[in-house]
């Protein structure tokens, strides 16, 4: 389970002064459910997810992931999280297997467990054809599978996906969305960020719309449709975000 409690992140910018990248955001993600964080570029999605994955430290507030506080026990949180984004690249000079094994060892797996786990994952994701190929020789699809294998190697109960399909071709993107569903079906807590409406409509149990670092609204797709009297998520999104967007432009 993930529980964000008044999560905030401020940055100092030389030109623009203080920037509130994430401002007092609270939400809860349940096991066996997918929480979709929907927002435009620069809305604060990546910063929020990076704080949940303890890559960044919150300026204020906190989050509890699998019972561990992201501020007090970041290493324990990371041991329970699989984090995947288009920015999480592979070590080019390692083979696919070495890469996955490296992260397995960093997650504290002993060699016997690691071998079994790697064999299972490589069979499941059909990766045996390229397990000894260096990552810089892999196709985009193979790279994505290797990244997925990395997030799964320690079998974490929480999965965080930051715009995982950004810039991918449709076939590779489908591999990722299928994987996200599989995680939910396996009872994992899943949160993912995107600006692609169709992905949210297809995948998410709960949707949170974020703009200017603030979580403006959250609910299931049906609840949002009712509330805003719109069927298309894109229309709902525009209705939610426009007043804030205009106010921001005026400022």
């Amino acid at each position: 389970m993930i529980e964000a409690r008044a999560l905030s992140k401020r940055f100092q910018d030389k030109k623009r002064g203080e920037i509130r990248a994430v401002d007092n955001v609270s939400f809860t993600c349940q096991p066996g459910k997918i929480y979709g964080l929907l927002g435009a570029n620069g809305a604060g999605k990546t910063t929020t997810l990076r704080m949940l994955a303890t890559i960044l430290e919150p300026t204020d507030g906190t989050a509890i992931v699998c019972g561990y506080d992201v501020v007090d026990a970041p290493e324990k949180v990371r041991a329970n999280v699989g984090f995947l984004s288009t920015a999480t690249a592979l070590y080019r000079r390692l083979t696919a297997q070495e890469f996955v094994e490296y992260f397995g060892r960093l997650n504290g797996l002993d060699e016997a467990t690691l071998k079994k786990r790697v064999d299972d994952i490589f069979n499941r994701l059909d990766m045996n054809g390229f397990r000894d190929r260096r990552c810089d020789k892999l196709s985009t699809g193979m790279m994505q599978k290797t990244s997925i294998a990395r997030t799964l190697v320690h079998d974490p109960p929480v999965m965080i996906f930051d715009e995982p399909t950004n810039g991918l071709d449709i076939m590779t993107a489908r591999t990722i969305t299928a994987f996200i569903r599989e995680c939910r079906d396996n009872g994992k807590t899943v949160i993912f960020s995107t600006h692609i409406m169709s992905e949210v409509e297809k995948l998410c149990d709960t949707i949170g719309i974020i703009q200017s670092g603030k979580l403006l609204v959250e609910g299931s797709l049906a609840q949002l449709r009712d509330k805003y009297a719109e069927h298309e998520l894109e229309e709902i999104f525009v209705k939610v975000v426009t007043p804030h967007y205009v106010a921001e432009e005026n400022n």
Partner: protein, 404 residues
């Protein structure tokens, strides 16, 4: 501290480094090949060129001397020299290397000598031009021998012994053992080399493991794993340290082998290089271990400092532009230690790099000032620990890791 995690990171970084052509070239191939190429290759080429220059029969123009036939005849009989008659533009001919030198015999030289009058024989040359210098040497030697002969004849005519002109001799004698002599002459170079190569060896991996990782997008991947940032820094740091020490060790090894091969090849004729080869062969395990023990905190200092600076960069290229000036900062104190007369003092023993460089000079010469060794080792360890502490702190700063 979990050494297991540090070891995991270290092993992975080592695997990647050994598969990276640039790292292998800069850390292993360059130090191994630099000295054979520079000393054996370049040295052999120089010897070959000098030999060829010596074999050439230089043309020397004779100016005057019509009334001094004995001297002219003597010059003409000289081996490996061709006397050419005087022609116009002789200075230009020397400059244009058509002739190598010109010798001017003053009018009435021979009769002046007979009458015990003083005269000056001039030799014109192209200074710094090797073949011109050889020709000049030959002519000068002939003229000096001729002068000595005249002096002897005059003394004999007056029934005076040779000791009239040389009442006593002055002789220098060395009491220092050979390793101290060559240590004083070449010890500075060993320290300089080890320090500089520690630096160059650390440079590439320091950039690759920090800015390179940011550029390739793997920083976020590794930061999302449960490893603590301190363990991550230490794993990376030990790899950079290995590269620094490995480069220095391989270089000294290759330098020793190159010099001894060169000494053998030249038949022990090249004095300076031979002494250096002798020194390296005589260094012995005690000196080698002492030098590397002193180099260890320096390598730690370099590895941590370079890693911290490179971490600020967003790209490999940016890191290069930050680290290249560092080479000069290191070279200046390392070279200063090689200057004649610069010796260890309590104040200098606290200046990083310069202190170790000076101490290496002493160690190679076989002198062990234990109080200085203690001060220098301790102070360098303090600097190194401070640099490593800063590196660990920097790895915990989001503004550095995610600088945009």
């Amino acid at each position: 501290m979990s050494l297991r995690n540090v070891g995991i990171v270290y092993r992975k970084e080592l695997t990647e480094a050994l598969r990276d052509r640039r790292t292998v070239v800069s850390t292993i191939l360059v130090p191994l090949l630099l000295f054979p190429v520079l000393s054996v290759g370049f040295g052999a080429l120089a010897i070959a060129l000098v030999g060829k220059a010596k074999e050439e029969v230089p043309k020397v123009m004779l100016r005057g001397g019509e009334d001094s036939p004995a001297v002219v005849e003597g010059l003409r009989k000289l081996d490996k020299i061709e006397i050419v008659p005087e022609s116009s533009g002789w200075k230009d001919q020397i400059i244009n290397k058509e002739i190598r030198a010109a010798v001017e015999i003053p009018v009435g030289f021979q009769s002046d000598v007979a009458q015990e009058k003083s005269d000056t024989v001039k030799i014109f040359k192209y200074e710094g031009e090797m073949k011109s210098e050889f020709a000049t040497e030959k002519v000068e030697k002939y003229m000096k021998d001729y002068r000595d002969k005249v002096v002897k004849e005059r003394l004999a005519a007056k029934n005076l012994p040779d000791t009239v002109l040389q009442p006593f001799e002055v002789k220098q004698e060395n009491v220092a053992p050979p390793e101290k002599v060559s240590g004083a002459a070449f010890g500075g170079i060993i320290g300089y080399m080890v320090i500089l190569l520690c630096m160059t060896g650390a440079m590439y991996p320091a950039m690759d493991l920090t800015a390179g990782e940011k550029e390739r997008g793997t920083m976020e991947t590794i930061l999302s794993s449960p490893i603590s940032r301190m363990h991550l820094v230490l794993g990376k740091f030990f790899l950079i340290l290995t590269a620094a020490l490995g480069t220095a060790a391989l270089s000294v090894l290759s330098m020793g082998v190159s010099f001894s091969v060169l000494g053998h090849y030249t038949g022990k004729t090249a004095g300076g290089r031979d002494a250096a080869a002798g020194l390296l062969l005589r260094l012995g395990p005690k000196t080698v271990i002492s030098v590397f023990l002193m180099a260890l905190p320096v390598a730690v200092l370099f590895s941590a400092t370079l890693m911290t600076i490179a971490l600020f960069a967003k790209t490999y290229k940016e890191a290069q532009s930050y680290l290249t000036p560092m080479t000069f900062i290191v070279i200046i104190p390392a070279v200063a230690a090689m200057l004649p007369g610069v010796e260890l003092t309590p104040k200098l023993s606290l200046i990083p790099i310069l202190n170790v460089s000076l101490l290496c000079k002493e160690l190679v010469a076989g002198t062990y000032h234990w109080n200085y060794i203690a001060i220098i080792f301790a102070s360098t360890c303090v600097y190194a620990a401070a640099a490593l502490f800063i590196a660990i702190k920097m790895f915990q700063r989001e503004s550095v890791l995610f600088r945009s």
